[in-house]
Every structure is written in C-alpha cells, then in structure tokens.
Assembly symmetry: C2
Homo-oligomer: 291 residues x 2
Amino acid sequence: MFTLAQLTSFVAVAEELHFTRAAERLRMTQPPLSRQIRQLENDLGVQLLNRTNKSVRLTPAGRAFLIEARGILRQSENAALAVRQVSTGEAGSITIGFTAASAHSMLGTLLRTAREAVPLAEIVLREMVTRDQLAALADNSLDLGLIRPSVTGPDLRTRPAVREQLLAALPAGHALTAREGALRIADFHGQELLMYSPTEARYFHELLISIFRTAHVTPVYSQYLSQVHSILALVNWGLGVALVPEAAAQLRYADIVFKPVELPIPEPVELDLVWRRNNDNPALHTLLRHL
Amino acid sequence: MFTLAQLTSFVAVAEELHFTRAAERLRMTQPPLSRQIRQLENDLGVQLLNRTNKSVRLTPAGRAFLIEARGILRQSENAALAVRQVSTGEAGSITIGFTAASAHSMLGTLLRTAREAVPLAEIVLREMVTRDQLAALADNSLDLGLIRPSVTGPDLRTRPAVREQLLAALPAGHALTAREGALRIADFHGQELLMYSPTEARYFHELLISIFRTAHVTPVYSQYLSQVHSILALVNWGLGVALVPEAAAQLRYADIVFKPVELPIPEPVELDLVWRRNNDNPALHTLLRHL
DNA sequence: CGTCATTACGGAATGCGTAATGATA
DNA sequence: TATCATTACGCATTCCGTAATGACG
C-alpha cells in the first residue's frame, strides 16, 4: 500500500506538472521525488503521469487518483484535528442518563450548558432508572447521570444539581383544594396518600417517611408506585393525594390541583449529578467545569 | 503527519486490545508495534490508549480516532482499487460530444453500449457543433465526437457510425404531399428549398449540392440555415421544402409531412465517430472495442 | 545545447527483530 | 511470580541529497 507522503508528493507534482518545482514546494530535491512517484505508480500498478522531458501530464487514471489522494489527505488532516479536539474536551461524545422525572427540572439546563460548553460534542441521552444509571456508570457506558441521592461506590463522584420543593397533588374537588395558601404536613393526617415504592423509588419513599415521622403525622398509604407520573395519573382519577417534586407540576393534568406545602426544609428534594471519578472523557470534564 | 502503516497498527491494537496479539496479526514482533503506536500518539499529541500492564483500553480520543483511521484506510483501499479500474478502462470518465441532429440517431445506441461496455464509467455529454468538437478533441477536453464527415487532422481517428436516408420534409398541404410512394430528386426542380449553410452546415450543404448537380436539378435556394431544427421550423411555417436526415423525423411537427426520396445512394448521410489517436483514456478504448 | 527527468552512489535515518528490563495483578 | 508492555541495541532497509547521465525540444 502507498504512503501518505507519496500522496503528498503526487498531489504536488500533479498540481505543478513539473517535478523540479514540485520538489521545491516539498522542500526536497528532485530525484527522490521522482523515485517516490515511481514507487507510488509501482505500488498501484498504474501509470499516473505521462512524462516527456519537456512536459508532465496526468493520465486519466492520474486525474482520478488526484481526486482520491486529495480526499485521503484532507480526511487525514481532519482526523488529526478531530482527535485533538476530543482529547482536549472541545469535541467528543457525552452520554447522559436521566430519570423521567429529572427531565423536567434539570435536563433542559444541562443541555443548554452543554451546547455552550462543548458545542462540538455529541450529547447522547438515555432514560434510565437510578439503579441502571449506576451500573452503566460503572462499566463506562454512561458518562454522567442525573439521579436521586443514593449510596454510590467510592469511584463515583456526586454533585448536587438542583433542589426542589415538594408540592401537594390533589384531585380536583378534594377538600384541601379549597384551602388558602400553603398546606401543612398535618393536613395529610389520615389522607389517602399515593406513596412511592420503597424499592423502586427508595429516595422519595424514605424522604416522605422521614417527613411524616418527624411531624408525627400518619397518612393512609393506599398504593405504592415507582414513578411520579403513575402517581399523578392516580391522583387525576381521584384515587388519593400525593407529594411530588415541583418539576412534576409541569405535567398538565385536567383534574389535578398542585399546592405548596410548608416543610421544615423548604426544598427537600435533591437531584444529583454523578460520574465516575476515573472517567477519562475530556468532553465530560469540560462540561463539568461549566456546571 | 502520521503514516498509513501506523493507522493499520493502531486499528489492530484497538481491535485486539492486546499488543502481543495485535503484533501477531500484523506479522511482526511486539516491540516495534509499541513504538509505532507511541510514535502515532506523539505525532497526534494525543493519548489513544490507556495501557496498564494487564489491560489496554481505548481513551475517548482513541475511540474517535479508531473510526477515523478505519475510514482513512478504507478510502485508501478504495482509491487503489478505483485507480486500477480507471487504468484498465473498467471505470473512468468519457466525455462525448454530439450535434443536436445526431442525438436522435446514434446517441441512444452509443449510451446503451457504453452502459454495457464500461458500466462503472461516467459518461459526460456535451452538445457542440462539429467544429467545436474537433477543437475539443485536439486539446483533450473531449474523448469522443459524433460529427458529420469532415476533414480531420492526422492525429484524429474516424470511424463511420451510422448511415441515414434523406427524407423530404414538406409543409402540410404542399402539392408533393399528395404523391404516392417515394419522391424523386427531379420533383424538387424549381421548388423553394430550405438549404443548409455552406459554412455552418458544410457537410449537408455539399451533400445536397452534389445530389442536385448530379441529377441536373435546380431548386430555388430560398434560405440558408445551419441547424436541422431551424430548417424544420421554417418548413412547419410553410416557407419551403427541405431534405433532412431521417433521424430528424423523430421530431414531431404538426404541419410537416416526411416522405422518402429515391436517391442514387440510398443512405447518403453519414455520421462519424472521431477521437484522438493518442487519447490515453482507457475507458474510451474499452468503449471503442465494444462499438 | 539547454532544460529537466532519470540513474548512480554514498551517508543518514528509520524501522524491524532479539534480548533485557520493568511494572502490575 | 507470571504476564505483558517498554526499553536497549544491532542490523537491514529505506530515503534523502549530490553527482552523473540521458532524452527531448
């Protein structure tokens, strides 16, 4: 197979149609240039140039190869450029995991920041539950996760991304919807509360349990569900009340009224950014620096 | 700039993720392979692989470069293949000149043959008058011309392509349209004949002059025109009769009747293929062999 | 006979292979 | 301690540059 140097030489000769001038342009003497071209022709088994002593002309095959050679050289230069951009974090690919609920709070901001910070990078989004995100981070198939706070290994790094309020989600016509201003935790005493699953939505489950225990309030846990939008669907059907992160209020339901709730911690719902400490994706670190 | 050999080495290592195995695949020993990869990384200024003594992993930049490297190698192989096809006449580009009139007789056949003979070649068609075709053949911007017989230089080769009848083109309602069967030359005596220009359409001009002189017939030369379709337009308007190559009958005019003419030579209109003797376009010669 | 590509030849650099070293699990 | 990448070193090849040759207008 030929050499990139041979291609460079050939392009120079093809453009100058003059070995001596081409050699000058290549900052070499003319004999080795002649040899290179001859070598290239031997490698290809094709005559590229017709030389008489007073003129150098391209053969049809030479014309065709000139186009190819230029293409290969351009692609090579682009490759060198592109790989440097990836290595410095200017370009590349960042795979970001998110949970459905987080999409409404943080994801928009994150993507906007990414577009500014690493405009040349490709952002790949994957909707995954927290547990799957942690697994994907571990095997390097995910660069960055958006998860609810949870126990993570020592090789994962975590950073709080946003904090949100909890809102009461009430079916239209429910007694509490008539109340002026914010609700209090005590208002939920004895209410049918649509509760988060202790396994699938452990973070919210424990958050609510803790809030109610602290306030000595005991609602009626009618259903356990893992996803916020499932809970809202049930509220919409009048099957109970719920506490959901404020981002969920972006989802419009015909028969749900959202009301603020007074809590000891005003914004108790956290969302974390998480990534592998040893992740060597430079684009990821460029993005993290801008967050 | 890097080398294609380095790219080949890198692809092997990236695929095996193991220097020793990659070296075996490349039929070389492992140390020079290590050096090549290191050299490639130095050239690029980018780390492509993370080596621990027990594992070789691609960095994100390495992943990006692997794709680029495969692309460059593939393009290089394709280029070598393509240029060989051009040199053997399997592929390439053939520029063919034609006159408007010839388009209807020969061009279809020619293109069909070309598609069979050199399916990989690009056929470029250029409508040019005979004189321009000869000039273009001389400076190599045309590979093949379709022209009326004319004086050509010694470095041009010519081959008869087709012979055609001459047809009488009569305006609808003209007295001769009533005649049964073929016309005779004598029928044109005293007729208003739309004549070919002696300079722009020399071949037809001299052909007709010769035919009428031989038959001792003298029509009235009312107009001199250079192009067949101009002549037919005037016939269509009733401004005279004309003699045109049979291919012209393919052009449908509302008010023209075509009739055969008895001539001493049944098919006096010739169309030639012409090309430069020294044309080094292999695709052209492949095509000519099939014609 | 002058221009310009090719051939001839000597020296430097590149690149492979073998052997030794070093690092990590 | 075994595996596997890197470093060390010697040799063959490649490739450049200078000089000589040759071919075409």
